[in-house]
Amino acid sequence: MTDRSTTRLLSGPSLAGAAEGLGSHTSRLGPLPRGIDSSSLVTELEASGLLGRGGAGFPVGRKWRALAERPTGRAVIVANGAEGEPASLKDRVLMAHRPHLVLDGAILAANAIDADEIVLYIGQEHKAAVESIGRAIDERRGGVRQPIRLVQAPIGYVAGEASAAVNYINTRDARPTTTPPRVSEHGVDGGPTLVQNVESLAYAALIVRFGAHWYRTAGRLESPGTALITVGGAAGEGGVREVELGITVGEIADAEATPPGRIQAVLLGGYFGTWASVRDVRQMPLDPAEMKRRGLTFGCGIVGLLPTGTCGVVATAGIMAYLAKESAGQCGPCVHGLRAIGDATGRLASGQAGASEVVDIERWASQIGGRGACHHPDGAIQLMTSAMNVFGDEFIQHARTGRCSVTGSRIAAA
């Protein structure tokens, strides 16, 4: 496997079929290599440049090293498959179809950091993923040193945040906890815990087989590798794709057979991400490093195409109302601030608010950053701020006239 093929995580049997069983998985990829010492394994991962796929894009190898080099004591792996992000499907598709690759990654991580327990934390609404991983765990019985536990995450956006996941596993309360202590110091049952997205783990299981060099043969620009992305909102059905990093947003849209003139803006990175006008990003490579430089987000790999006939203000209002509702309700600035932003955006969308509410939203958005136990409010205001940049004229139009220039309608009744 030294070609530049962009099908890696999803290579193998068709996604139209059932989950890949252990037999097929092992004959296709070979068994998980054993006997590699932890430090060379971590070095290989670091050399690959693999970044976390749960949203924040933190280097995977560096995270493993920090835990592998802890003084002593027990440790736990949490494979994060909560996937509460409404615009994302990639984790559930990966878990439903390649469960053994995910388990390989979790087992590899457990061996690398000498953990004594593995927890698969999967959103309970992702039924096919829960079943597929459950069956895969059964198939592995007897072959794995660490006990593997499947915990179904409650439905909710914040339940997948690392400290919320650990809190739920410990106490059945899926609300984030105050840091420090970080989960890497004090996590499941009080032990140092590695919380890693399921796609990150699956990729680690390929890198240990084929090497860091192989990983880096894909990737057109700065960021190496392929990634699972979820394309949504297009004329076609959208769905999960595996793409080479550095592919342009235009290529992704074209592959959905969506005529260029039919899209006005793109939601990049998910509900915590950033809007961008299609003019600005059509030629832009989907490359986390390049996106960051442009103030955009790769996040968990969302490319949401907003059709020309849909109002960006209305789309944003829907997202902000959702994020406000999904606040875990613990921190004042998140609870009150997001509710205020969500309500005001909703009133603007329906033509019931004036220009002063646009100013209010800008003030709230500038105040809320960093003022919560978790990054939920930070993600929410990032999305809001980008919406103001991209749909600013339309926000003003809604405020001044109570009319939407995209749909042309009087919207107060909508």
Partner: protein, 73 residues
């Protein structure tokens, strides 16, 4: 060592006592939750900051050293 004012947002009840006590150091938002400067507290103000911390009914306010905050993961 530089220290910065920090709030445990889960504990803070938003009555804004800290902001009333130290209006030049701690702003309050319209719901009376504190808005803290990310800058380290000046040495000469440390005792004032400590007074606000002592008065916080929820024990939500604290001084934290920079090194604690910057660690990753």
């Amino acid at each position: 060592m530089d220290v910065t004012l920090r709030v445990d947002w889960i504990l803070c009840d938003g009555y804004g006592l800290c902001g009333d006590l130290l209006p030049d150091l701690i702003d309050l938002d319209e719901w009376r939750y504190p808005i803290l400067s990310p800058e380290p507290v000046e040495r000469g103000r440390l005792s004032d900051a400590q007074r606000a911390i002592d008065c916080c009914p929820m024990k939500a306010l604290k001084l934290e050293s920079e090194t604690v905050r910057r660690r990753p993961g």
